[in-house]
Amino acid sequence: MLGVSFFVGFTGLWALATLGGFVSKTFLADPITMVQSGWRLLTEMGFAKDIGITMWRVFGGFAIAAVLALPLGVLMGAYKPVEALFEPFVSFARYLPASAFIPLLILWAGIGEVQKLALIFIGSFFQLVLMIAVVVGNTRRDLVEAAYTLGCGDGGIVRRVLIPSAAPEIAEILRMVLGWAWTYVIVAELIGASSGIGHMITDSQALLATDQIIFGIVVIGVIGLVFDFAFKRMNQRLYPWAQLGK
């Protein structure tokens, strides 16, 4: 409730500043114009398709990163030698700013889909691997020992103790990094793209259409929020035991 009232207050302030004539329309469109041009974007100018393309890029790149990061992260968390082999490089790669790869990726892969997917992959993969490895590595030692005394072998420990024990936290990590992937895709689309939400925003900049720019930003925010919420709900459904005692 408090959160909603802040949204309302914020929009009210914005409306006051723009409709009240305190801020020039060239710099900041008012909420009503924004909604109107947003509607026009969606119905007449095919913005829905841009939204779809951006979403597919995010989920495509993120899915590739997650599918590869999960096994590597789990193995690094479970086995010290694997960790010793990969950890230094992954830690280093994690601090490389993904956006700085854009020029290089454009040279390599042009401004097509491969470049977008690659950027999201670079931005999420290393973060995912490291965080998953930490969570798996922090599995309670006494649970692992209990499983050994119940006849588990090393493979059973990974499958039946490390992974289920870390699963809720891994799901939270995925949720968080998916949020970051959203920001990468927009950056990629701002710099070099012929479609997508970010592309619409750069086009609108050339036309000084702040109403469209703001609409684009709001759409990004709303989609991010919706998926974050859905992801959170799904995690709570999947791992009811992790909710106990919270």
């Binding site: 006494d142 649970l143 005394t149 588990c152 024990s165 791992y239 035991w241």
Partner: protein, 274 residues
């Protein structure tokens, strides 16, 4: 024949900062016969857990060996069930699936797993709680589930490391009776570590007292009470006498360990200070 032979097992831990290694356990030997319920008493830090972990195969001895049915133990295995002091139920599994854990590892059919689990859950008095997650259970109920989980796996022997140590006094006494009842029905060989003398005498048929760190078994006493035991034997003259004797033995070691490992309360100071 002895089911378990501990032969000259010692353990020293390398220190973290390159100093001298700490000897946690002196060369210790102990034989357990079939149907023995051996309780091990000793001051904290004397190496009780270390000894039990070595028998479980969770730790390796620095010297000596552990034989189970004549074969050397080289790692953990389902033949030695363990109940820990800390609550070690898998939080993502409900009571029934926790109890089924080892059975599933062995590849039993699901129906068979559930049948076995059900009977052990009933034996520890938790029927009706099969679908509860560990976090929804009290400490005593969690330890009962852990006991059912270890027993359902059909181990050759049971290792228990202060399993009731974290429970309140009343719950602990009920747990003792419950475990004793189960033991009297099955007579599974048990190695039971505790620092509670009452518990050691009430439960065991042999009580071992360990010395202060580095520990070794310095005293052993047979417990003469017949089974089934009723909790009222705790007030019998014989019980009190045995308990007094063990109290002396343990007390000497507790004193030894505190004198060795802590500062004196009143450091001697020169009589005449200016």
């Amino acid at each position: 024949m002895n089911i378990l032979s501990i032969r000259g097992v010692s353990r020293s831990f390398a220190s973290q900062n390159g100093g001298a290694a700490t000897l946690a356990l002196q060369a210790t030997s102990l034989d357990a016969a079939e149907n023995d319920f051996i309780t091990i008493l000793g001051p904290s830090g004397c190496g009780k857990s270390t000894l039990l972990r070595i028998v479980a195969g969770l730790d390796q001895p620095t010297s000596g060996e552990v034989l189970l049915d004549g074969t050397q133990v080289s790692g953990a295995g389902a033949d030695r069930g363990m109940v820990f002091q800390s609550y070690t139920l898998f939080p993502w599994l409900n009571v029934r699936d926790n109890v089924c854990f080892g059975l599933r590892e062995r590849g039993l059919a699901l129906a068979q797993q559930h049948e076995i689990a059900q009977s052990f859950i009933a034996r520890v008095g938790l029927s009706g709680f099969e679908q509860h997650y560990p976090k929804q259970l009290s400490g005593g109920m969690q330890q009962r589930t852990a006991l059912a989980r270890a027993l359902a796996n059909g181990p050759r022997m049971l290792l228990m490391d202060e399993p009731f140590g974290a429970l309140d006094h009343q719950t602990r006494e009920l747990m003792q009776e419950l475990l004793l009842g189960i033991w009297e029905a099955e007579r599974k060989t048990v190695l039971f570590v505790t620092h509670d003398i009452d518990e050691a005498v009430f439960m065991g048929n042999r009580v071992m007292v360990m010395s202060a760190r580095p520990g070794r078994i310095k005293f052993e006493s047979a417990v003469p009470f017949a089974h089934p035991r009723h909790y009222r034997i705790k007030t019998s003259a014989e019980f009190v006498k045995l308990k007094a004797e063990l109290t002396e033995q343990v007390r000497a070691e507790v004193l030894a360990s505190t004198a060795l490992y802590s500062e004196p309360l009143h450091p001697a100071s020169p009589a005449a200070t200016p």
